[in-house]
Structures are given as C-alpha cells and as structure tokens.
C-alpha cells in the first residue's frame, strides 16, 4: 500500500495537471459567491433565531409537547362542558334530623315485619347517629297506679331538681285510660331521677337503653290503674 506521502508525490508529479484541473477547474464567479453568502447568512440568522425561541419555550420543553398539552387541555374543557351534568351534579342537600327520621321510618315500615321497630322521635335508637344530639334516648316507666295531682306535683319537682321539665303527653285525659307524663332530663342525672321516682311515687317497671347516646333523655311515665 502506498503511503500518503507517495500518493501526494504522485498527485504532484506527472498527474499534477489533471489533479490541478480537478481542484481548480470549476470556479464560481465572485458575484455568485457573494450573493449566495449574503442569502445564506440571512437564512442562518433566521434559523438560529428560531432555534433560540424553541430553546426558550416554556420550561424548556420541546414545542411539540407544549402544543400537545394545550390541545389536551382544550379537549378536556370541551369534554367537561359536554358532561357538565355528570361532573357537576348538584350535591344532595343535608337532610334535617326530622327528614332522616321519616326516611328511616318509611324504610322500616316497608319491611313491615312483626318485630320491626318503628323509629320515631325520641325513640332511643342507638348506634351511629350523626345527629344523635337531635334525638333523645327514651326511658319507659310504667306505674300501675293512677296519676294524681300530688304525683303530678312530685314529678314536676323531680324534673326541676334534675334540670329538666315536664312536657305534656297529650293522651289519657279521659277516665280509665292510661295517663302519661313526659319528663325530659339530662342523661347524666337519669339514674338519680329514676331513684327519686322510686322513692316519691313508688316502684315501677322501667325499661331503658343500656347505653345512652343523647345528652337528654325522655322519660315516658305512664300511669295505668288496673
């Protein structure tokens, strides 16, 4: 193999005329050189400016991804506009305690089993109750003696001592019917109230929940003289 020096010697020897013709034979005119140079440099400046702008695009991300994100956002907005009713369905309004009780009552009625319990106001229902403060536990006290004025006064006194009150029961006005008195007292004094009832009125059949969930307890006292 010939070395580079040998090759150059050959190129510079007898073949130098041909080599020289090849290297210098086609010479562009100076006017064309200058004209194209000016156009080329203008084009290069424009291209460099475009590349700078591309580099300085948002967060340095390629323009393609920025455009893609913009198109995606626009598409999402259009989609949301068409599905407004799904994404922005009006929230259910908060039910009042009364509405909830009615709803539960209707459900239980629908069950209509012989042992189903109709949960009404102050039913003493236990368990999870977001509005437990709005529902009073209930205690049932049954006397087999009649309700006399003296007993009525005693009950009012006990209720007053406990920080509660006697509320009208609205039933049993006529003779021979069971008469009822309702006391509403704080839960923490329920045992004291029941004890006072036993001392002042007499022994009764008491039915009360194991656990109290409400701040106030409704004590239903019925007098049913046999």
């Amino acid at each position: 193999m010939r070395s580079d020096e040998q090759m150059e010697a050959i190129e510079a020897g007898e073949d130098s005329a041909i080599v020289s013709a090849l290297m210098t034979g086609a010479t562009p005119t100076p006017e064309f050189r200058a004209r194209l140079k000016q156009s080329f440099l203008t084009e290069a400046e424009s291209d460099a400016r475009r590349r700078r702008a591309y580099k300085l695009s948002i967060l340095g991300l390629p323009r393609f991804y920025i455009n893609l994100a913009a198109v995606g956002a626009a598409a999402a907005l259009v989609l949301m506009a068409f599905t407004y009713g799904v994404w922005f369905r009006p929230a259910r309004t908060l039910e009042t305690a009364e509405e909830q009780r009615q709803s539960v009552a209707l459900t239980e009625q629908a069950d209509s089993g012989p042992h189903s319990v109709l949960l009404g106001p102050r039913s003493g229902a236990r368990g999870f109750a977001p509005d437990a403060g709005d529902t009073a536990d209930a205690v049932y006290v049954e006397y087999s003696t009649p309700l006399t004025d003296e007993v009525q006064g005693t009950l009012e006194l006990i209720a007053a001592e406990a920080g509660g009150a006697v509320e009208p029961a609205g039933a049993g006005d006529s003779a021979g019917e069971a008469q009822a008195v309702v006391l509403v007292v704080p839960s923490d004094v329920l045992d004291h109230v029941l004890g006072r009832l036993g001392e002042a009125v007499g022994t009764a059949q008491i039915s009360k929940p194991v656990h109290l969930n409400s701040e106030r307890v409704t004590v239903y006292i019925t007098f049913s003289p046999d």
């Binding site: 193999m1 010939r2 580079d4 460099a48």
Partner: protein, 198 residues
C-alpha cells in the same frame, strides 16, 4: 474567529442558537459543493442553482444531522442527493441514443452535440479543466466517488475510506487507477486529434 473550530463545533454552535459559525462553514464548503455540482451537471447555471438550493436549505436540514458521521461526509451526501434530483428533473424522457423521428415516419440517427471542449482547447487551463471534468463520466462509479471525495470535497484518505466503507489501501488504489484512467483518456483524445491533422 471560528476558523480553527471543527465543523462539528460550528454546527453545535448554530444548533444552540448562535449563527456566527455558519460563515466559516460557508467559506469551507462553498467551493467544494460548487465543484461537486459542476462536475456532474457541467453547466454553470445549473451548478449555481443546485449550490444555492443546498446552502439555503442547509440550516433547516441540520435537524437530520445527528453527529454520527462527520459533517463533511454528511454534507457530501446531501449535496449528491440534491445534484441527482436536479439531473432527474432536467433529464428528457427520450433516450439520447434513440433515433430521431422525422416527418414521414423515417428515423435518422441522432447526432449528439458535445459541448465539451476537445484537446485543441487545452491552450487555456480552464478549458483543459472543463475537458477533464467531461471525462469523469467515463470512470467507473467507485473511481469517480473517490475522485469527488478527494478533489472536490477535500477529504483525507482515511475519511474517504470511512465514507465509502472500504480499506484505506482500496481508496488509494482506486484513486491511482482513476487518475491513470483520466490521463489515458486525455492522451488518447490528443492523439486522435493530432493524427487528424497529419
């Protein structure tokens, strides 16, 4: 200012948004591209058109330059493609070897006018150069490629070997044979012309 920087450094400079290196690229490659275009087109106007198109598209074409090859070999490929496109566009559909049809349906042999200067025109160097260029078409493609890369694109032997994917020795032997072939072509023409005057 950037005359000492390599081609790849100048291109990176441009890709980063600084166009100042492109002037050096132009000065380095303008003559090379023009020579390559002229050697294939052998028309000053066509060579200028193709050279303009190559340079004006060069900056935007740089996105396809991935730096895997040297810039000199990349631009050689780009230029070659542009020249071949130009040849395809201007080439007539009728073969130059086909006979001409004249009125009446007779065919007469086509006389092809050869614009290339003959040996008698060797008085001027420029004419001799154009004559040598005109003989390039007679070379096999492998030898012609070596001539183009060596004398038009001014690549080193090693760069030519890398570009063509051949051994260094193959490049040198092809170049030797190519020059020898050109020399013999020129000599033969001169002898033919000289004998005509005897």
């Amino acid at each position: 200012m950037y005359s000492d920087a390599s081609d790849e450094q100048l291109i990176q400079l441009h890709l980063s948004g600084d166009p100042r290196g492109m002037e050096a690229i132009y000065e380095r490659y303008f003559d090379r591209i023009y020579r390559l275009a002229y050697s294939k087109l052998r028309s000053t106007q066509d060579a200028e058109d193709v050279t303009s198109a190559i340079f004006l598209k060069l900056c935007r074409s740089l996105d396809s330059f991935r730096g895997e090859a040297k810039f000199s070999t990349w631009i050689y490929t780009v230029a070659n493609n542009a020249v071949m496109d130009s040849i395809r566009r201007r080439r007539p559909n009728v073969s130059l070897d086909a006979d001409l049809r004249v009125d009446g349906g007779e065919s007469v042999p086509r006389e092809i006018e050869d614009d290339a200067p003959g040996p008698e025109d060797h008085v001027a160097d420029a004419d001799f150069a154009r004559y040598v260029y005109s003989r390039l078409d007679a070379l096999p493609p492998g030898q012609r490629s070596v001539i183009e890369l060596r004398y038009f694109m001014e690549l080193s032997y090693q760069q030519i070997a890398d570009q063509l994917g051949v051994e260094l020795g193959t490049v040198k032997s092809r170049l030797n044979r190519a020059i020898a072939a050109l020399r013999s072509l020129v000599s033969a023409e001169e002898e033919v012309k000289a004998s005509a005057f005897r």
